[in-house]
């Protein structure tokens, strides 16, 4: 396996974060953790954007991942109740399976285990994306954007009306263990940080590997000329479906990690303006590298926290103006600027 520049950079970033992280002031750590969680969602957007698609509803998976991580027991119980109420033996059996899985895993690892929560996030978002993917892979451009927005608003609407899941307030969660080992205070904080770094950097590495495989390369070909891809004997729909699932799982992991990180989830995560933020960061970052989303998220979060503190009524305007400037003058995103600078120095 050839070691390319991106892989080396990912490794370097991981090392720096893990070593320097604990030495940084709390506010900086917080900024980094949030940026990583947002960044992995935007990494998912990158995979879709390389395929020529922009989702205006990625909040769906971000939120679903968070709720699957935090509320898997409530969700599983609700499903089992529905099954019991139906009185249909087969349906009851099928809808009891999630509860059995949840009980089994929490039995072994305890409730609110970080590893278990991430597993649930992946399973729920992966399954949902697989199902929705059959429909969404037929759409492009505006319609793909609008349909994905519709599904995210469907989730938003359902969660807001669900008192069992806390309605508009959402609810709090607290991770208690990882792989069965109980954690408290300092060790909990450190483990959360390490988990976030590990999951996000590992994902970046894996996505980078994927994009260099044949199917990964088809993404950009599809973006440029779908017809020709079909005339090369490859299936556009199947590739889009796969990339859609990958992007959803990444977004779900971002949501789950964010939930574990800040200890709170609410339906706002699925509102269209949240999805809009992911799109914004995606445009800001560009699709040039798997690390671009994380850089973009860091810049976004930095602007947001400082602009908000300085003038809470103008930070959105600052974002809007930045986005316009990037679209008008830097269509490849900030990463293309980075590449140009590196090109000049070389």
């Amino acid at each position: 396996m050839k070691l390319d520049r991106t892989t080396l950079t990912i490794a370097a970033v991981t090392v720096v974060l893990l070593v320097a992280g604990p030495l940084l002031p709390a506010w900086m750590m917080s900024l980094i953790k949030i940026s990583l969680c947002y960044g992995i969602v935007v990494l998912g957007m990158l995979v879709l954007m390389r395929t020529g698609l922009v989702s205006f509803g990625h909040g769906l998976y971000y939120c679903l991942g968070a709720y699957a991580a935090a509320a898997h027991d409530k969700l599983a119980n609700s499903l089992a109740e529905v099954g019991d109420a139906s009185g249909w033996a087969l349906l009851r059996g099928i809808l009891r399976l999630p509860k059995m899985l949840v009980d089994a895993l929490t039995g072994v690892f305890g409730p609110y285990d970080i590893a278990v929560m991430l597993v649930f996030s992946v399973v729920v978002t992966g399954l949902t994306a697989w199902i929705l993917g059959f429909l969404l892979r037929k759409y492009r451009e505006i319609f793909f954007a609008m349909l994905s927005l519709a599904f995210s608003m469907i989730l938003y609407g359902s969660l807001v009306k669900s008192s069992a899941l806390g309605s508009t307030d959402g609810f709090n969660i607290a991770a208690r263990s990882v792989f069965g080992a109980t954690l408290e205070d300092d060790s909990l904080r450190q483990t959360i940080f390490v988990s976030i770094v590990a999951v996000t950097m590992l994902s970046a590495w894996l996505v980078n590997l994927y994009l260099r495989t044949h199917r990964g390369r088809l993404a950009e070909a599809i973006r440029d000329n779908e017809l020709r891809v079909e005339y090369m004997g490859a299936s556009v729909r199947r590739t889009i479906h796969v990339n859609y699932i990958i992007s959803a799982v990444l977004a779900g992991l971002g949501g789950a990690l964010m939930a574990i990180n800040i200890g709170h989830i609410d339906p706002e995560m699925a509102y269209w303006t949240t999805s809009g933020e992911f799109v914004f960061i995606g445009i800001l970052a560009g699709t040039g590298s798997v690390l671009a989303p994380f850089l973009g998220a860091l810049i976004f979060e930095t602007i947001r926290s400082f602009a908000y503190e300085y003038s809470p009524n103008t930070w959105q305007m600052a974002l809007g103006i930045t986005m316009l400037l990037v679209i008008l003058f830097l269509p490849g995103g900030l990463w293309s600027l980075f590449r140009k600078m590196r090109g000049k120095a070389a």
Binding site: R223, N225, L227, Y231, G233
Partner: protein, 252 residues
């Protein structure tokens, strides 16, 4: 000689417009066939139907005896019928190398493919060979959207050749190419075709190219085939002179 491609009673109507009317053709293996006719006569419609982009209103298409009328372009490509386009269909943001690699990569990633001569060596070697055959090596790392027209055409054809064609359909391979480059282009294509053992059908407006390179010519007019035979004979045919090459023929 074996019949490799056969069209029986093909018709295609779009509402009140008849794009193809009772097309019957049997193409022999390894032949080189020219399709002539003025714009709108039905040549591209024919290619679109054979490659699965359009479904005929009635009639069937057979490839080596197998009915392919209802198949999708993707499956037909995998069976071994490949095409190039009137306007080159390239991947504009990818380099020439990456464009050809797309096709080669698909072939090497497996699945059911035609048993045409396999691409040799590793995927990288296969791409380099293809680039050489079409004189594209100098443009290897250039993005497809900055290429001159003649090179775009060559790339378009190279991409079609890289997915193991048994039959190659070229839609106006020399249109938009300057007069002196036309023959160079066709020589290159024909050499590659001979090297891979492919049956070729191509649409052409330049009658000199048609007479020099084809063994058989089909003349289209208003969706029908009005002449079918050796180039010399077909080009002398009075109906062909009237509707295709004579007054009615517009030099591109």
């Amino acid at each position: 000689m074996a019949i490799v491609l056969e069209a029986k009673g093909l018709n295609k109507t779009f509402g009140a417009v008849t794009a193809a009317s009772d097309i019957n053709v049997a193409v022999e293996k390894d032949s080189v066939v020219g399709l002539i006719g003025s714009n709108g006569a039905g040549k591209t419609t024919f290619i679109n139907m054979v490659t699965g982009y359009l479904k005929p209103t009635s009639g069937s298409i057979f490839f080596a005896g197998r009915d392919i009328t209802a198949l999708s372009p993707r499956l037909i490509t995998r069976l071994g019928i490949c095409r190039s386009f009137q306007i080159p269909q390239l991947f504009s943001s990818l380099t020439v190398y990456e464009n050809v690699m797309t096709g080669v990569g698909v072939v090497f990633s497996g699945g059911g493919w035609s048993d045409a001569s396999p691409l040799e060596g590793t995927p990288e070697q296969a791409v380099e060979t293809m680039l050489e055959r079409f004189g594209l090596t100098a443009y290897r790392d250039k993005k497809a959207n900055v290429l001159p027209e003649g090179v775009r055409k060559l790339l378009d054809i190279a991409m079609a050749m890289s997915v193991k064609p048994k039959i190659l359909l070229l839609d106006e391979p020399t249109s938009g190419v300057s007069a002196d480059e036309k023959f160079e282009l066709m020589d290159m294509v024909m050499e590659a075709v001979r090297a891979q053992g492919v049956t070729v059908l191509f649409v052409e407006h330049d009658m000199e190219i048609v007479s020099r390179y084809t063994q058989r010519v089909l003349a289209f007019y208003e969706g029908r085939i009005i002449a079918d035979g050796e180039p010399a004979k077909v080009l002398e045919d009075p109906e062909v002179r009237k509707y295709v090459t004579g007054e009615a023929h517009a030099a591109h």
